[in-house]
Symmetry: C2
Subunit: 204 residues, 2 copies
């Protein structure tokens, strides 16, 4: 199957909800490390990732710059597509080649991967009619908009793809479960601490 795989990336001010724990420069470095992990997982799964960025970013894979916001930028890709399209968010440093392969191989005209907190962390559409709306609890909107399309809407059950890194409370998952660039970057600066059965990260 030929599938076009697109990774949207906000190069301007990534990961603002991590501002309580990382400064702007750190957020940029960590965001780019996560992006590179996602790109590497897709590449290792045998696909050719393209990055759809809001501004120029230096990567070894093709980068398209589109300064539209996320929803119209992704819908432009979907409107132009002739083959199936997969869209995988850039803040999934737990992504593995196996998890990405499961997305590509999943049955369904539209395959949705929810994100924790109601988002849509990834999807694969074999329908030319599917469009996205990333505002709010987008997984609910995407279930609704995909339902009337010809063919089944399915969901992929993957912790590694559902676990997006948005807030400080998410950072332990990177230290616990990832081993790529984002994990290396974070391990150099933070360590896990367990208090009252809750795991957090603290500065080294």
């Amino acid at each position: 199957m030929t599938v076009r795989v697109v990774v949207p990336y906000d190069a301007a001010d990534p990961k603002t909800r991590l501002a309580d724990i990382l400064d702007a420069e750190e957020r940029a470095a960590f965001g780019e490390a996560m992006l590179q992990d996602v790109v590497a997982a897709i590449d290792a799964a045998g696909a050719e990732p393209e990055v759809l960025a809001t501004a120029s970013v230096d990567l070894s894979v093709p980068v398209t710059v589109d300064d539209q916001s996320l929803t119209p930028a992704v819908n432009t890709v979907l409107a132009d597509a002739t083959d199936p399209v997969a869209v995988v968010m850039a803040d999934l440093p737990l992504a593995t080649p196996a998890a990405v392969s499961r997305l590509f191989d999943a049955q369904g005209e539209v395959v949705l991967v929810p994100g924790i907190g109601g988002g849509t962390n990834a999807f694969l559409t074999r329908s030319a009619a599917f469009r996205v709306d990333y505002h709010g609890a987008s997984i609910q909107d995407h279930r609704r908009t995909a339902a009337p399309l010809d063919g089944a809407v399915t969901e992929l059950d993957s912790f590694r793809l559902s676990m997006d890194i948005d807030e400080p409370v998410d950072l332990p998952e990177v230290l616990l479960h990832a081993d790529g660039r984002a994990a290396t970057w974070l391990h150099q600066r933070f360590t896990l601490e367990t208090q009252d059965d809750r795991v957090t990260v603290i500065r080294r």
Copy 2:
């Protein structure tokens, strides 16, 4: 494969970390609804769940009362076992028969399912030597203790089994992704609200 499937349940004071949003009576009702959802998913996956509770609880499946804390209670089960044993936590209302079946079918001498925040939400052991320690970031301990056992340690990648419901921030996931007793109970009392791209639950 014959597999013994055990669901530990704290019947005394369940879900204390939900105390900011649910009173004691509500926590008991919600905790029991989640337990029933987990039991139903295991049953629908073709296995025969047993509940290992700290006190008597009225269910349609066998209940063993053991007032030991979680770790020694589970290790007592493991020490007595002759067949493979799966242990699935009671606070996984997103569990589906498909997700539970993937655990039973997974390759590996020990199959671990991490929980968000470093816990171990479920496991399957085909080794008689595996023991648990649920303190702190237990997934790290379980990886370490399982590694020297004869055979591969694997992990199952499942959002539905990794998403345990411990804190108020976890409750939206029940409304977004579950449709069993816990979801029904919660829908009657709470509704989703989206603010600044974060989803929360608020009282109706």
